[in-house]
Amino acid sequence: MAQIALATGFVLILAGLYGALTNRDILRMIVAFTIADTGVNVVLVAVGYMPGRTAPILDAAVPVAVASQRIIDPVPQALVLTAIVIGLGITALMLAYAYRLFRLRHSLDISNFTELKW
């Protein structure tokens, strides 16, 4: 299972990167990056996964005493939560930038914004 999740996550990352680097439409670049971000999240969660164990929540079924035999690693999940929110922040920022760029040139083609160079 973990391998499947890992592979899926990596495929999403690679697909996202490819899309972000080949699509010249700025909005589509951002879409591609969100896909890559999702892929990263899947990879992160997959790394914490341990077959046959439950979510890291202690309750009647999982008392503290046996917790370390029953639950999966909670750390990657905590990291992913942070990563998701940060990803949203960056996506929102890029979108706002996209709007500003569009206002600047009435175009969303990244190759039109090259006056800074050399």
Partner: protein, 1042 residues
Amino acid sequence: MVSPVLIIAIGLGTAFALGLLGSTRKTLLFGVTLAALAAMATISLIWLVALATGATETAEIHTAGVAPPFAINLRVGIAEAALLATVTLTGLLAALSLRAQLLTLGRGGMAVLLVLVMAISGLVMTRDLFNIFVFIELVAIATAGLVLLSEDTRAVCAGFKFLVVSQIIAILLLVGIIFTYHANGSLNIDDIGATPVAAQGAALAMFLLLIALVIELKPFPANGWALDIYTSAHPGFSAIFSAATGSAALFVVDKVVAPAGAEWLPLLTGIGLLSFVGSNVVALRQDNDRRLLGYSSVGQLGLVLAVIGQRDVLGDAYLYVAGGLVLSHAVAKAGLFWMSAILRGRKLQDWAAIRARAPMVLAFATFIAMLVGLPPFPGFYAKWDLAQALVAAGRLPVLGLILLGVLIEAAYLFRWFGFAIKREAPESGLSANMVDCGITFAAVAGGWALGWIWGAIPGQHNVLATLPVLAVVAFIALEPLPAKLKNVLAIAALLGWFALVYGDYDPMRLIFAVVMIPGGAVILLASFSETGRRIGFYPSAMAMYAGLALLLEANTFFEFFAAWEVMTLGSYFLILRGRMSEPHALSYMLFSLGGAFALLAGFALASGGVQPFALDQLGTVTAELAPWVFVLLAIGFMTKTAAMGLHIWLPGAHAEAETDVSPMVSGILLKAGLFGLFVMLMQLGRQSLWGVDLTVVLAWIGAISAFLGAVLSIFQEDAKRLLAYSSISQMGYALFGVALMNHLGWLLAMMFVINHYVYKSMLFLAVGGVYKRTHTKLMYQMGGLITLMPFTFVSVLVGIIAMSGVPPLSGFGGRWIFYNAIMDADLRLPLILIFMAGPIGFLYLFRLIHTIFLGQLKDPHRQLKEAPFWLVLPQMIFAAFLIAFAVLPGMALQRVDGYIGSIFGDQPLIWQGRAITSEFGYWNPVAIMVVIAVVFVAVFLILIAKNHDAQKVKQFNIVFSAERPYRPETTHFAWNFFAPYRKAMGILETPVVTSFWGGVTDGVNGAAEFTRRFYTGNGQTYAAHVLLFVVAVYLIAMGGVA
């Protein structure tokens, strides 16, 4: 002690709380923001001082009340505290620099700035991998926000490109972090380092982590995105981006690479070096100031990354070296960005506007010297220690590339400085106000303070604490005084110093000291002819003299090298003062730095990293290394004596310098190279490499310099250029003498030290006086000045007699010793060259007197007066000295002769009364003087007797008989005077060396032009570059590491 967590809490809390203050009271908001930044800076400084003085230990701060690795922890040690102070102070000053934008935009902008400074501080302190990621993202987002504060709409594009790359970095970083966690079971950096890992994929995870952090450092060539930010963002922000963010990112790499292990260091070294050299090459073709600073920033980050790669060999010196480079970079770059806020124009030439403000020039010079690593700034100490460690570890190629990079960086920075000093200043190019200037000078003060601190660290020799350098600082402070008063003080300072030290010197050093220190004071007499305040002259001149004074004082390699660099810097500023000297000063600086780097490498090779290493231990170098040390040092010293091949800087630099500067740089400065050669040869003696005796090579170079210098000299039309080429020739003689490695050869060289100083200074002053009156240096525009400027004529006459080596003046003494010396030696072939240089020398010297003083007086010159008194006075002193020295050479030479005898263990000269006897003959100066005087008086009387036969001719009675000449100079009989010889010797005039160095310059510039096409401006292409970079490094690294 307040907890450093408060830096984070204050930054964040204030950013959040700004919203509670309402959005209308912007001044209040700004005040609160500044107060918060000031509080953060204060906490950092308190910790810095406490840690530096040993009042407290490195602090480990736990959050959540749990020890690491289970909760995030922070650390504040000396390195962290220094960086925190840099970051917070930069933030505070940047807030002031950005005040107009922040006040317009209100609390949003201020909150973003606060969060940025907080996040960079957090990045410095945290010891947790994922926490690093969070702070990096915060920094990235805040950067994208603050970029928008620029009035430049292109900043929007730059910000977007930056965000795209940030996304890629985030992805790589997260994947790297999670797999590192998987392999180690911990996110704590120290914990990861403490547990050995065998898990599969750990190396790859570490690679992804490191490469993501390295891309944060904008490595060349995957850095187009960052350069656009430098170009378009508000300079107040760029200062943070370069100084604070860059330094923190470096520190993060340093933190992570510690647990990653030493096998990653070569990779970092490689990336760092590529980035350093590559960025600097591309920067050569920049003409936008901020983009140039961007390339320089990126290059500096690369340099420090390469230094991080050397942490395994730097040992205890690691923090000192890396810290010195980082802090120099941070302070200088922030200062330059803030300065660029004051400048209206964006072209490098527009910086000429600062010329009107001396403090601005001082600031600019300070920053450039810091970046290039010149004394007394920390980069200089760092460079020295780095070189020692690298050579000791056998990493010469690394050292070579670093020095190459520094040289290229120096090329564009000093070219820029030249623009600022020499180009035409744009109308109202400055928008100076109190705050921006204040910020800039805060950086200047920081730079000098750092220089002091780096020198004051135990075990170091504090360049700033030496008396001569303090005198230079004093002269900077004395700038508002009138020039005449400063001149009195300068002469007093030189003589005072000489009185203080002369008792300690051996006879040889004493000769040099007399030439350099009181000799300098005599030349300074000529400076009384200047009026006004002469801003910039005295600090520069005193820096040169300070360097020379310290050179003679130096006991260790470090002291010698520091003195050498101080001297170089001072003389560069002096030379740059000349009216047309911009390109020449630059080439002087570059050759000097190149030579200095050869010295640096040579010293490091000799000491093998042992410090301090005394100069007189040079002889203890192992036989294996000695020839290489010899070669490096000889190259370094010969750049200063302008030996043929390394000479092309000299003619322009000497000829275009000011009237009283030319004799200083020619008569005095060239001797520093000779002094170095003496010191070196005294210790190392003869060395041979691949069966070739290196002293013979030197002798050949000396002979060729003597010959070709003379040949080139005879074809000059510019009187000062003629003298400059003659200096090359004269130094060639001296070099030849030194390289003979026998008693008489050295005595000859010592004789040249004295003679060349006297007559070259005299001739330069004389020609300078003529220039002052005629406003031309071209000889064919002059003539017949003998009646109008008789004193000057006398000094030129005395000068050329002395120089050409005919009796009775001291030049003949030189020749006499010289012929004795070569009879002793077994070098027959170079002898021929040297012999031929003699008569050729006579040809150009003849022109000097014939064309300027004899012949017809030109119409525009009829009303001329004698040169100013203060120019004539030192000439007369020199003339008197020459005559005295000719009669009594023993007064100076006898002691030196004895001293040299004690080195070589022989005594070929016998000093008897007025006569000197060698095995080949004897020389009685007094007798010769009497004979010559009698002959001269006799001929003179005959001439006077026959004077009535002479006929006066109107000046233009034949020349204008036909049509008007197309090129007026061709009508002067002295133009192209030696055209007939050109047919024979023209081939020697082919500018082979100039073409060679020109080719090198063109090649580097071409490479720069080619490389910068790489930066297409397309954000997507930049992102592709980043990916390409990652993949390329991956392929290389997996070959080497995994």
